[in-house]
Symmetry: C2
Subunit: 393 residues, 2 copies
C-alpha cells in the first residue's frame, strides 16, 4: 500500500447512488499543500468546477471532497450554493478554512445534489481518515468505471518522495462528456509555478492523448497537491530534479490514462496509435486522432479484423498533409501497408494474430517528415452501446 507523507483518505456511502455503493470521498493533507489544476474547457461548467477553479488558482489546497452519482451540473444558483455548502461541511469537519477545500462531482447532469444526505454524511468523515485508504476514495469516484484507478511513482533515494494519483473515467470511446477526474498527491516540495507547468505538460502527454481539449465534460478536473512533507529540497523548473518530477508525474498520469482507456465503456482492447513521418507534430496528432476516434476502425478492432482500408481512409480524411503512395501501416511490427498498397494475405494473417491480443499498437508512417504523434484508444463493442443506452434508466 503506497502512502504519501501527510495525506489521508476516507470514503462513505452517502446514498447519492441508489445502489448504495460508496459515493463520497475525502482527501486531506495535514498541512496546506501547494496545488495546481487543469479544468474542463467545456463552456458549460458544473458548479463544483466554478467553485474550485479559483481556489486552486489561489495556490493552496488542503482537502478534496469528491462525490459520484450526481454531477451538480446545469443546476443553476442552487447548484452553486450546494457546492459551496459541501465545501463548508468538509472544512468544518476538518477544522480548516473552506477556501482550502476543493469540491468535485461526477454523475448525472441536471439534478440538484441530495443535500440532506450530504449534510448528514460529510461532518463525520474526518473521523475515518486513514493514510492507507486511497483505494476507497478511488472506488467512491467511480460511475460506469469497472475498476478503481490508482497509480504511483517514487523518486530516487537521494531525496525521496512519492507521487500517488487516483482517477475516474471510462467513457472514452468518443470521449464526449464522459467525466474525467484525477487527483494527485505528492509529499514533494515543489515550486508553485513549476507545479502548474509540470501538470499542464503531464496532462498533454497523458489524458490529452486519450481525449482532446474540446471533448471535455462539464465536470472534468485534474488536481495535484504537493504538501512538502517529504522534507526534501524544493523542486524548481529547469533543473534535473524538476525534469525528474515532471517525468514521474507524467508517468502517474499516463498509467491512469491507460487504465481509463482499458476501462473504456465495454472496451476489450487497448490500442496505441502511433504516427511517424508526418510533415510536423500537429499533422501527426491529427492523423492519430482521426484513426483513434473512427467508429469504423474501432469496431474493426473489436472484430479482430486487420482492416487497414478503414485506417488508410481515416488517415486520408484528416486535415494533415498526406501522400497516399508513401503511407506504411504496421500492427505491432507487422507491415500491412507499404507505399500505400496492401502487403498481401500472408502478412495480413499475421496482423490478424496481433489484433487478437488485448493490447497492441498501430503505427502509421506517412513518409513525409519528422512529425510524431500518438493516441491511446479502445475498441467499440456491443457492451459500449448497452452501457450508454442504459446508463440513466
Amino acid at each position: 500500500m503506497v502512502k504519501v507523507n501527510g495525506f489521508s483518505f476516507v470514503a462513505r456511502s452517502a446514498g447519492i447512488r441508489k445502489s448504495g455503493k460508496p459515493d463520497l470521498g475525502l482527501i486531506f493533507s495535514t498541512v496546506p499543500a501547494r496545488c495546481a489544476g487543469v479544468f474542463t474547457t467545456n463552456k458549460v461548467q458544473a458548479a463544483p468546477v466554478l467553485v474550485t477553479a479559483p481556489r486552486i488558482a489561489a495556490g493552496e489546497c488542503q482537502a478534496v471532497l469528491v462525490n459520484s452519482g450526481n454531477a451538480n451540473a446545469c443546476t443553476g444558483e442552487v447548484g452553486m450554493q450546494d457546492a459551496l455548502r459541501c465545501g463548508q461541511l468538509a472544512a468544518k469537519s476538518l477544522g480548516i478554512d473552506e477556501q482550502l477545500v476543493a469540491v468535485s462531482s461526477t454523475g448525472v447532469i441536471g439534478h440538484p445534489l441530495p443535500m440532506p444526505l450530504l449534510e448528514k454524511t460529510i461532518p463525520g468523515m474526518s473521523e475515518g481518515l486513514s493514510e492507507t485508504a486511497v483505494d476507497d476514495v478511488a472506488n467512491a469516484m467511480m460511475t460506469t468505471d469497472s475498476f478503481a484507478k490508482v497509480a504511483s511513482r517514487q523518486a530516487g533515494d537521494s531525496a525521496p518522495y512519492t507521487i500517488l494519483g487516483v482517477a475516474k473515467g471510462a467513457g472514452m470511446i468518443h470521449p464526449n462528456m464522459a467525466t474525467m477526474l484525477s487527483f494527485v498527491m505528492t509529499d514533494a516540495c515543489v515550486d508553485q509555478h513549476f507545479l502548474q507547468q509540470a501538470l499542464r505538460q503531464a496532462v498533454e502527454g497523458s489524458f490529452n492523448i486519450i481525449t482532446v481539449d474540446r471533448d471535455t465534460s462539464t465536470n472534468d478536473m485534474v488536481l495535484v497537491l504537493a504538501n512538502g512533507e517529504s522534507k526534501t529540497p524544493e523542486i524548481v523548473a529547469d533543473s534535473a530534479e524538476g525534469q525528474e518530477f515532471a517525468e514521474l508525474l507524467r508517468g502517474v498520469l499516463l498509467d491512469l490514462a491507460k487504465m481509463i482507456v482499458r476501462d473504456g465503456e465495454g472496451a476489450t482492447k487497448l490500442v496505441h496509435v502511433c504516427v511517424n513521418g508526418a510533415a510536423d507534430d500537429g499533422d501527426a496528432r491529427k492523423v492519430a486522432y482521426n484513426v483513434a476516434t473512427s467508429n469504423l476502425v474501432k469496431t474493426a478492432f473489436f472484430g479482430e479484423d486487420a482492416n487497414w482500408g478503414r485506417i488508410i481512409a481515416a488517415v486520408g480524411y484528416s486535415e494533415a498533409q498526406v501522400d497516399p503512395s508513401r503511407i506504411a501501416i504496421f500492427f505491432d511490427g507487422v507491415p500491412v501497408v507499404q507505399k500505400g498498397l496492401g502487403t498481401g494475405p500472408e502478412l495480413e494473417a499475421q496482423a490478424t494474430d496481433v489484433l487478437k491480443q488485448a493490447e497492441f499498437s498501430v503505427t502509421i508512417d506517412l513518409g513525409l517528415g519528422d512529425g510524431r504523434g500518438e493516441y491511446y484508444t479502445s475498441d467499440l463493442t456491443y457492451e459500449y452501446v448497452k452501457i450508454n443506452a442504459d446508463y440513466r434508466t
Copy 2:
C-alpha cells in the same frame, strides 16, 4: 415506376460479391448528357474517382457504370488500369466514346477488382437496358445498405421534366469512410455551369448535413446527368425555373440523404437536430454537428432516454459561442431545458414519449442570435457494432 426520357438501366450479378447478389449496374442516356459532379475530398482517392472526375469536368457524360463489393481503392497503378478497362468495356458495349463513361465503385479497400468477372459480364449488359429498371441499379449499388434508395421529383405542367436519383450508403453513425454514391438523372435541359452550381448547393443541403466534407470515403461521388430529352427550354441561373430546378434537385437529394440516415448501420431512429438562435449559421452548424455525432447522445436515443445532459454537454464543447444560461432544448415540441435548466420530471416524461417514435426532432435554441443549422442523425445501436465488426469476415 418513374421514368426519365432517354435514360435506361440494367444490373447484373457479376460475382464480385460472394453472396451472388447483383453487384454491377449501368445507367445509359440515349444522348450525351450535360453533367456535374461532387467528389470525395479524402486525400486518398480510389481509382474510379481519379478516372471519373476529369471526365465529368469535361462536361458531358452518357453512361455510369457502378459496382459494389470492391472499392478499387489503394490498388495503385493496377487499379487505375482496371478502372479504365471497365469504362472501355462499357463504352464498347454501348457503342459510345469511353470518355463519356463514368465509373464508380464501392466495397472493400485494397483488393484489385476481379477483372475476369467484369470482362465477362460488362459486354452483355447493354442488351438488358430498360427504362424501368432504375431499382435494379439502386439494388446493385448496395453494400451494407438494407434497402435500395430511389427518389424523384416532377416539375410542373408548363415545362414538365423529371429528376430521378439513386443512392447508396448506410454507415453514417460517425460518417467516416462509409462510401456514399448517388447518381441523378434528369431529362431537363440545364445550363452546364448552373447544373454544377445547383448540384453543389443541393449537396450542401442534403448529403452534407448527414456527413461533413472531411468525413468522406475514398470513393464518394455524386453525379447528375441532364440529357435535355424533355425538350423543355434550357434552365439557367437566376431565373424562376432555375430556382425551381434547384429546389427539386435538393428535394431528391434530401430524400435520399434521409434514407441513408434511416438505413444507418443498425439505426432504428431518424433524428433531425435543429439549432436556432446561434450567433451565426456557422456556429449553429458546429453545434448541430457535435450533437448529431456524439456517441453518447446517439446511444441515449437508442435507449429512448431524454438525456438532455449529454446534449447540453455536447453543445458546450463545440467551438460555438454559447451562454449556458440561455440554452433551451426541445424534443419535438416538448421543452426539457429552459434557460440552461431542466424543466422537471413531468416534461421529461413527455419527452421520453417523443423518443419512443421512429422519427423526431431535437431543437436547440442558443438564445444569442439568428444563426440556424441542421443535421440528420440516427441512434447508435448494438446492431451497428455487429455490422461493422463483422463486415469483412
